[in-house]
Symmetry: C2
């Protein structure tokens, strides 16, 4: 069991995967096109903080690196919603004690790369993959020697070089779809060395077709992100002057505006980035396979991009171990089994954008959430709300999506009733009947 | 009005477009990566004959080249269906006198290139586009000088180099989707210098999940094409020996097998090709635009690949003329108006595969067709069957698709009735009511 495994991309998924495969006894090397982030400045324009939850934590524990990472996490217990008048409403994410964790992408990535190196993985920065030969399992790099391997794993993100190469092979299905919204990050500095908003929440300013969110960082700053259409009114295109930006924030995000004295400067200095969903199939060819964003890049609205990538790592390694590391059987088997779950979280992430920006402030939505938590209290094993299935469980995404649709159907029916008519036993019976029907 | 226009791709669409733009007074040049087909052997593996119909003929007439092409066309009046016992059933394509035309891709392409040269277009073969700069409107070629233009038009097919370059620009939506079937061409030679099947039909051997078709060529051969799954049983994968191929054809295509003495040799010698649908948006960037397959490659089952590409040419030039050749306005306007029709013919082509291979032999389908032609006889302006709207009219594809879905709904209702209960006036009233409802 001394197969040589080459991983392309030293991002979150590639680094974590390297740690685990090295621990399993393989010879593992990672090739990363960027320079070593420990020796250079960070790249701009990528989401700075992420929300780590159950599906991401489990493989971190499996790799034995969770303890190293835990000190850098900031728990977020739920959504803190800001209405236009500045009024706050709290909405827990799950049951008492359930939370998600704000974490800096850059810090987490660095911790994982260090863990990989400590585990004995060779990490080569400044190695840009220029070509790959799927027949000989060989990777070419700009100005470097070619590398042959027993297994090549592409964890090189939404714009994967390995996937790009696969795209031009016969019968490779592929799509890239950009939503009509982009995003812009805005930094909220600390005040008197303290957070300027309550830190243990994901703050949301839902405004229908657009929204602002804020996540805490462990240097006591917040990163605000405006999700906003590229075109139309209002949109990134329609806000052309500092006065227009000022007026826009005064109208929609008055309380946030007050936290960012240099808001208009940041607005015009910081980049506007786009949001893509990519799908492809098959994820493998011969002895090469894609994992994480390279296989299925999703929009960030369910906080599951990194978590689904880490879950890929766990499921891939578990399946490989069960199949006795026979890559020629594992690769097609993994691809075909995991694909439906990647498609499901992709759909869930797009749907959750509409929920976050539009529905969360809706009285009907709040009644629905309240009723759902009452059902869950009475039937904790039978009714797990969709958000909890996705965020706090290992239920396959495709099953969560299926059950979520049934829950929605049942709740639509329940919401036509008066409060006094609601019967929880009937609700759970109806749910179980529909659940079996499939 | 002396803008310099560069067209990339001297295929059917590019050559026809060049003729018309040259006639409008522009300086037009075409760059083609292949060698001049008049000086070299033909490329293999592409569909040899195509079905030219109304939407393709109209722009050929506009360009004044139809008379040159007409002698090379073979009319096909309808489908000639071959069942497993060799029994034949004829199904007309439209009304009396309506037909589609079998034409050789290679011959038509050569005629159009010659027409372009005669019109004064400069045609450069052996010019492979290696890069394009959308800001400076400049094309780079392998081992050639760069070319700057006022307008660049990519008519370089389903695997367009221009589109590939667009794919890696921000916010470009793109998908490529391969169906599970491939195709293989098989040649039927003449017998005693005559056609071996009746020439004025498109012959179909519908067999459920797969089918064989045959189109006449003007050298009295037929080109048979087997559309067949890549995997499963039976499939291209499952037929491994000459005996297996023989047995398969004996069982399903006995009468066709008898026309091809060297069938098994051809089966293993000729390539198996895949079938892709591509979609993208937007089709333009700055002063560059995609037309034809480069913008919207479709499967061949509606015989509309070339026809939709030629219609692109007509609509693009008509719009450009109406907008006084102001490219900066024309390009976004054309893209946004034509896109829905490209999506519609793409969907129709996929649906028609199921109809051709599976439904055409169905008694229910035949009754539906017969009833429809009776409705059309009585209400020729109000009820045009879907196939006729697509093949013999200029009705936008998206409108044809919409009306076709309404027709299907009405016919589904009618087919539950006894023959004696059918009332044509009621049918047309129901159709008109549903039509307005949208």
């Amino acid at each position: 069991m001394k197969d040589k495994i080459s991983i392309v991309g030293a991002g979150l998924v590639g680094s974590l995967l390297a740690v685990i495969l090295k621990q399993k006894g393989f010879e593992v090397q990672i090739f990363e096109k960027r320079k070593d982030p420990r020796k250079s400045v960070l790249t701009e324009g990528r989401s700075i903080n992420l929300a780590l939850s159950h599906r991401g934590i489990r493989p971190l524990k499996l790799a034995g690196v969770y303890e190293t990472i835990a000190p850098y996490l900031i728990p977020m217990n739920g959504r803190m919603m800001h209405d236009q008048a500045g009024e706050l409403t709290f909405q827990p994410y799950g049951k008492e004690g359930q939370f998600i964790n704000s974490v800096s992408r850059a810090q987490l990535n660095e911790l994982l790369v260090v863990s990989a190196e400590k585990a004995g993985v060779e990490v080569y920065f400044d190695h840009k993959c220029s070509d790959i030969d799927f027949e000989s399992n060989s990777i070419s790099f700009e100005n470097r020697e070619n590398i042959a391997s027993d297994l090549i794993i592409g964890t090189d993100g939404a714009f994967s070089a390995i996937r790009k190469k696969l795209q031009f092979t016969d019968r490779f299905n592929f799509s890239q779809y950009y939503i009509e919204h982009g995003y812009k990050e805005l930094a909220v500095e600390p005040l008197n060395d303290n957070f300027r908003l309550a830190p243990n929440y994901l703050h949301i300013w839902p405004r229908g077709n657009f929204m602002l969110i804020a996540l805490p960082n462990n240097d006591k700053t917040f990163t605000c992100t405006l999700f906003f259409p590229f075109e139309g009114d209002p949109s990134f295109s329609s806000l052309k002057t500092k006065d227009e930006v000022d007026d826009f924030f005064s109208k929609y995000f008055k309380d946030a505006q007050e936290l960012i004295p240099d808001l208009t400067d940041q607005f015009f200095y910081n980049p506007t980035s786009s949001l893509v969903t990519t799908k492809c199939e098959p994820w493998h060819k011969n002895r090469s396979i894609l994992l994480g964003d390279a296989a299925h890049a999703i929009v960030p609205f369910y906080g599951q991009g990194m978590n689904s990538g880490f879950e890929d790592v766990r499921l891939f390694v578990e399946m490989a171990e069960n199949m006795n590391w026979e890559w020629d059987k594992i690769l097609p088997s993994y691809s075909s089994q995991r694909k439906k779950d990647a498609d499901a979280i992709s759909e869930l992430a797009l749907l959750n954008f509409i929920e976050m920006r539009d529905h969360v402030a809706d009285p009907d939505f709040l009644r629905r959430k309240k009723l759902e938590s009452q059902i869950q209290e009475r039937y904790p094993k039978e009714w797990i709300p969709l958000y909890s299935m996705v965020t706090f469980s290992d239920i396959p995404y495709s099953e969560a999506l299926r059950l979520g649709k049934i829950q929605k159907k049942v709740m639509d029916e329940v919401l036509t009733l008066e409060e006094s008519e609601v019967n929880f036993e009937q609700i759970i019976e109806r749910f179980n009947a529909l659940k079996k029907g499939d």
